[in-house]
């Protein structure tokens, strides 16, 4: 396999240091891949596709309508990261989560950080994610976002930066686990030669964390995974995690809140008490008694049960108040305020359009910036300045001027790349990384995470809901 046709510059490549030499962490991987010619490489790619089909790893893309069993798009070449680097990243992630959870708890209770003017009040008051129904509540261990998916990117210098925090219903962890299963079947030889940290223990840690939230102190608290159903794009993951944890997979109608304000499941044997709900349903659909009254996905009265402390909900409703691109910019300030520490993991430089000079800068440099609405997920509604037409730029100029509070901008990043297998051989593609952080009684970070790859050459959009693919992520002990 000729690598000198693979040109990783001008971006930071995860596997290659320059067009000749691999990075130290990728040394063995590189040697192994070099020994394969293109037909062999294509054969491995085909084998991985077959493996995924057999395993039934699937995904739904809403725009594809009826096809709810699309195979998970996966590139077989792993993305390696040195273990000692990851240790520092892990500490940074835990620090960040602790501060964010302290923030959320503060904002729904005393609001000290707002009183002290560290975070502008209007960001919270004006936010649709600030749920008044959650005021005055302190969930178990004071933790609201029990599961978070924090997206990381490497900039042009190879430094890991946080791109955003996903604190509501972050997904992708099951694919992280399945990706490893596939890689083990396709490249088994490499695993023998290197020490790669395991990822399949996630469900155990998830179970322990959820169990630590139980209101009843029993040996086996009853945990359920609440799914919107088979048409949801992440249904596979809901069912996977439920299975791995030995938890029941339920939909709204399977649960009810009884006159004792406790949550129960309808079973053949009668009603069964539920202790913890791992909900994969959006906040506003959770309880038609309190939020969207037309929701058929939720459980009427579950907020009553939650407020009384009769059931734990992970992630707690209202966590989304911190899942906001403007609040993101204040996280280093939160870490200072609550923990008295400097942020170990840097943010990406962010311009907040509600601040006049940031707004001015943004409008003047629109064609160099990425503009994001403060509140949308999945990569929709973005403007990528350098790639945009004059028409799109004008459209965003108008949108920003009309509602500056709804927009933030960031410089376009030179996201790092890694090789993917195309029909012609290896070619670089941009990627990011989503590790998962669990917080209940204790705080724990995944060894690696889901690496998401933009499958189209030059594209920076990695989201799976828009056709991105993924890679196995290796934390390698050297």
């Amino acid at each position: 396999m000729k690598w000198n046709t693979y040109d990783p510059t001008p971006f930071y490549d995860e596997v290659l240091e320059n067009s000749e030499d691999p990075r130290p962490v990728a040394d063995q991987l590189f040697t192994y891949l070099k020994s394969l010619d293109n037909p062999e490489l294509q054969a491995r790619k085909a084998a991985s596709k077959l493996c995924i089909e057999e395993m039934g790893v699937s995904f739904t893309i809403y725009s594809e309508g009826n096809n709810i069993d699309r195979d998970w798009p996966f590139d077989v070449i792993p993305r390696p990261i040195p273990a000692d680097e990851w240790k520092l990243v892990g500490e940074g992630l835990k620090q960040r989560m602790r501060a964010l959870n302290l923030f959320i708890n503060d904002v729904y209770n005393e609001q000290k950080i707002l009183e002290d003017g560290i975070v502008p009040r209007h960001l919270i008051d004006g936010s649709t994610n600030f749920l008044k129904a959650c005021k005055g509540i302190t969930p178990p261990h004071g933790v609201w976002a029990n599961i978070s998916g924090t997206d990381l990117v490497r900039d042009g210098e190879g430094v890991f930066r946080v791109l955003e925090d996903n604190l509501r219903v972050p997904s992708g962890v099951s694919y992280m686990i399945e990706n490893r299963q596939v890689t083990k079947r396709i490249f088994p030889e490499v695993f023998n030669e290197q020490s790669i940290l395991p990822v399949s223990d996630y469900p155990t840690h998830l179970y322990e964390m959820l169990a630590s939230l139980s209101p009843r102190e029993v040996e086996f608290p009853i945990i359920v995974v609440l799914t919107p159903g088979i048409y949801n794009s992440a249904y596979f993951e809901h069912s996977f995690l439920a299975q791995e944890m030995g938890a029941e997979l339920v939909e709204g109608a399977d649960l009810f809140v009884d006159t004792d304000d406790c949550v129960y499941m309808h079973t053949v044997d009668g009603k069964q008490r539920v202790d913890v709900v791992y909900r994969r349903v959006d906040d506003t659909f959770l309880d038609p008694e309190v939020f969207n009254e037309h929701s058929m996905l939720g459980v009427p009265g579950i907020m009553r049960a939650w407020k009384k402390g009769n059931v734990a909900i992970a992630n707690a409703p209202g966590s989304g108040v911190a899942d906001d691109k403007a609040v993101y910019a204040y996280v280093p300030a939160m870490i200072k305020y609550y923990l008295g520490e400097e942020a170990l993991l840097p943010n990406v430089k962010t311009y907040l359009c509600h601040i006049e000079e940031d707004c001015k800068y943004t409008l003047e440099n629109l064609n160099k910036l990425v503009v994001k609405p403060v509140n949308e997920s999945g990569g929709y509604g973005l403007l990528i300045g350098p790639r945009a037409s004059e028409e799109e730029l004008e459209k965003f100029r108008k949108l920003i001027k009309a509602n500056p509070r709804n927009y933030v901008s960031q410089p376009t990043l030179d996201l790092s790349t890694a090789p993917v297998i195309t029909d012609e051989g290896l070619s670089p593609r941009h990627l990011d990384l989503r590790p998962f952080i669990l917080q209940g009684k204790d705080c724990w970070v995944t060894q690696g995470g889901l690496t998401r790859v933009a499958m189209i050459e030059g594209s920076l959009v990695v989201n799976s809901s828009q056709g991105g693919g993924s890679k196995d992520t290796w934390i390698v002990e050297t």
Partner: protein, 331 residues
């Protein structure tokens, strides 16, 4: 097990049985039509009567109950909820969300069955509407359904999932048998002498549809009469496709379910109806129709009792005895 999941596996059981029994019926009928001389032939319309889909058929094809229309309506028409195609799709959809309750191959077999019918429908040369493709096609559908049932029998733990998938299978089987006997018996018993000389042959073909010929002969010898066939398919306790056997099996399985009193009472009632009828010395078509009618109503009632007792239709359900000591996967 979650009430909703119990309902899903129940319907899975019903739809697979429907698939198999419909295929058997169509096969038998096609054979009958081939063997009989023109004067004694039955109408293709008879199939529509048996499956109670005359109304829907009329909407689509009017009065043109030709072989081609009837077969395509009952096999490949995805707009007919009672077609083989629709039954398989429904089976698969019900299984989709309870995949983890079934042995691994379960989902694969259902997928395979679904694709099989889909492909045959699209490929005109292999389309089962054509007589030369039909027998093999229907035989294959039966075989694949049996594969699914075989997997259930040999690898599904005897838990609540097993109970409900079996309920579905037995109710559907009893229902289909009732329907078939009801219509065929009525037609044959009313036919004038000159055309009915072939009737024992027709009875034989319908018994073949139930895989009952050898078992019948072992019990009754080679002579076939309406009475002996009816008694066999209604009440032969040791034959697994007889209605009585279906009811007995369901009663046995329900012993391990909670709040089963209403269900058991209903099955007992049905068995009494059958036993009462079997005491009659002669077959009188009018009485036969009443008996079949009562049986059908009884089966519908049985279904309602199942839904009210164990599915989400149940009103305020009593507290479970298992409580905190068990994991959620109690079945």
């Amino acid at each position: 097990m979650l009430s909703r999941n119990a309902e899903r596996v129940y319907w899975l059981g019903r739809y697979i049985e429907r698939t198999e029994d419909t295929a058997r019926l169509l096969n038998a009928f096609s054979h009958v039509m081939m063997d009989l001389p023109a004067s004694s032939k039955l109408d293709w319309n008879v199939l529509l009567q048996i499956l109670s889909v005359e109304e829907q058929f009329k909407k689509k094809h009017g009065d043109d109950a030709s072989e081609e229309n009837v077969i395509s309506f009952l096999v490949t028409d995805s707009e007919n909820p009672g077609s083989i195609r629709s039954a398989i799709r429904a089976a698969r959809e019900n299984a989709r969300t309870v995949r983890d309750r079934l042995p691994l191959e379960g989902w694969e077999i259902l997928n395979d069955l679904n694709l099989f019918v889909k492909k045959r429908e699209k490929n005109l040369a292999q389309n089962p509407v054509k007589l030369r493709n039909r027998f093999q096609f229907l035989k294959d559908v039966v075989a694949k359904s049996q594969q699914f049932n075989g997997m259930v029998q040999s690898t599904l733990s005897r838990n609540q999932a097993y109970d409900f998938i079996s309920f579905g299978r037995f109710i559907e089987r009893a229902d289909m048998t009732t329907r078939m006997l009801d219509v065929v018996a009525d037609i044959l018993l009313r036919r004038p002498e000159d055309v009915s000389s072939f009737d024992s042959h027709i009875w034989m073909e319908f018994m073949k549809a139930q895989n009952a010929v050898m078992m019948y002969r072992a019990e009754n010898g080679p002579r076939i009469s309406a009475k002996s066939v009816l008694h066999f398919l209604l009440g032969q306790e040791d034959f697994p496709r007889s209605i009585k056997s279906c009811l007995q099996e369901m009663t046995r399985l329900s012993q391990q379910l909670p709040r089963n009193e209403a269900f058991i009472a209903e099955t007992q009632k049905l068995m009494l109806t059958l036993e009462d009828y079997q005491k009659h010395a002669e077959i009188v078509p009018a009485e036969l129709r009443v008996m079949f009618d009562d049986t059908q109503k009884g089966l519908n009632q049985l279904h309602s009792v199942i839904a009210d007792t164990w599915f989400l239709g149940a009103a305020a359900a009593p507290e479970s005895e298992t409580q905190t000591q068990t994991q959620t996967e109690s079945s």
